[in-house]
Amino acid sequence: MTHDEIISQLKNVMKQSSQESADWDNIGDDSSIQSLGFDSLSILDLIYDIQQEFGIEFEAEELATVRTVGELVSFLKEKGV
């Protein structure tokens, strides 16, 4: 998948799991995941939804250093998405 395709699919997943009404049309690589309405609980749902959506498995701890959408896309690419 291309970078843009991953972001587009990721946006749909994030919309579902987020607790806030973020400006989803304008999120990009620099957007902080926390600012999109994810707290310590809902981030667990996001990880679950990403695993279901992209058909991959990983531990939550592996995302410990991921802060932005761009970093998350890079992480997913490393996992073979």
Partner: protein, 431 residues
């Protein structure tokens, strides 16, 4: 001196008036059922003699022996949730959010939102089943993918107190919040306990009611196999409380909420008072898990009258539990006769489950709201589908058209599996 005596004397010395109860009034209500997305629409449909029971559409009912029910319009529910800015969650929670928002707004305690200021209001919600849809989804995921299939937020979504917790958080209600679960009596008990809480001075304002969303394949299959649901395929005719040809209940989904507060609180903020809760009685059959007991039910009615300090002769209307099962309606008739004595001969009785189905844990709250409106508007709802009265139900049943009333007091009965009996006494509000 016993500690209890000491505490009483201490309070008396400090100037407390012992046993002085506060009056409890209703200043707001809201509801979501198959008949409408607010109380006003539901009332209009009832008085027009319409039912919300239809063929079920939310899942494939081919293998079920009962294929009808009273479903809430999903598109309208989604729109209301979007208006309130509440993300889709569990259906039981969602419907409670909508009805509670209406009740709080009706009482003048919140504006349009979506941000709310914290207020000292308790949240006491009843449910029979709880987060049925989320549980169904969670078990499906588990059976499909085992441990890895389980969504991390399954616990907060499915916990038995999910509804009161979400309502409390959404509207920033900082009084105590908890759920009451006693099957079909749940929301009547929620109102009763809220009444006591305010009367005894523990809370000043309580948001109470009930919510249940039973239409998911597994929960509905459980009811299907229990053998208490009507097998009549005609949705308009299937639910027939107190009729000789009744053959069981018809389920519905929905939520109803009432805002209860002390009379002083309502008057001090110049709230419009809709009615007054003046008594609450409860009892347990302590006999059988599903078969009702006339003694247990009559005890609850007597306890309610005693709590209200009125006689049976003062009751001008009984809003029955009236599930339309063979056992319940006959048992409830005997209970009413037993508790009200000769006063039952001319006390009109109506049952409302033929309109919006049996709402389980939300039924008592929905039916209490309609009872308050009956007293307020001096009119009683017809009993739908009562062409042939059961000769074993010796009650003064309202016929097939609305009937005028000048009743000042009404009883609301609710009886649940597990033997929980709960009865409210409601007084018409006179300005």
């Amino acid at each position: 001196m016993l500690m209890a005596d000491f505490k009483c004397r201490l309070k008396a010395d400090q100037g407390f008036k012992m046993n002085e109860k506060k009056r409890v009034v209703v200043t707001g209500f809201g509801a979501v059922t198959a008949l409408g997305m607010n109380v006003s629409d539901i009332w209009t449909e009832i008085m027009a003699g319409k039912t919300g029971i239809k063929n079920l559409t939310c899942f494939d009912t081919t293998e079920y022996s009962t294929r009808i029910g009273a479903e809430v319009d999903n598109d309208k529910l989604a729109q209301r949730l979007a208006d309130i800015k509440f993300k889709r969650y569990d259906r039981t929670v969602e419907m409670a959010i909508v009805s509670c928002e209406q009740a709080l707004k009706h009482a003048g305690l919140i504006g349009d939102g979506p941000d709310y200021n914290p207020q000292r209001i308790a949240t006491i919600i009843g449910t029979g089943v709880g987060s049925a849809h989320s549980l169904f989804h969670a078990y499906n995921c588990f059976f499909e993918k085992k441990v890895r299939g389980m969504r991390p937020t399954t616990v907060p979504r499915c916990m038995a107190n999910a509804t009161s917790a979400q309502v409390s958080m959404k509207f920033r209600l900082t009084g105590t919040n908890y759920m009451i679960t006693c099957a079909c009596a749940s929301s009547t008990v929620a109102i009763g306990e809220s009444f006591r809480m305010i009367a005894d001075g523990y809370e000043n304002i309580v948001l109470c009611g009930g919510s249940d969303a039973i239409f998911e394949p597994a929960s509905y299959a459980s009811w299907n196999n229990l053998g208490v649901m009507s097998k009549n395929p005609d949705p308009l005719k299937a639910c027939r409380p107190f009729a000789d040809d009744r053959d069981g209940c018809v389920l519905g989904e929905g939520s109803a909420a009432l805002l209860l507060e002390s009379l002083e609180s309502a008057q001090s903020r110049k709230a419009t008072i809709l009615g007054e809760i003046v008594g609450y009685g409860a009892s347990s059959d302590a006999e059988h898990i599903t078969r009702p007991s006339p003694e247990g039910q009559a005890n609850a009615i007597r306890n309610a009258l005693s709590s209200a300090e009125i006689s049976a002769a003062e009751i001008g209307f009984v809003n029955a539990h009236g599930t339309a099962t063979r056992a319940n309606d006959e048992c409830e008739s005997a209970s009413i006769l037993n508790a009200l004595g000769s006063s039952a001969d001319d006390t009109p009785v109506s049952a409302l489950k033929s309109y919006f189905g049996h709402l389980l844990g939300a039924s008592g709250a929905m039916e209490t709201i309609i009872t308050i409106l009956c007293l307020q508007k001096n009119i009683l709802p017809p009993n739908l589908n009562l062409e042939n009265r059961d000769p074993n139900c010796h009650l003064c049943l309202v016929g097939n058209t609305p009937t005028e009333t000048n009743a000042s007091y009404a009883l609301k009965n609710s009886f649940g599996f597990g033997g929980t009996n709960a009865v409210l006494v409601i007084r018409k509000w006179h300005d």
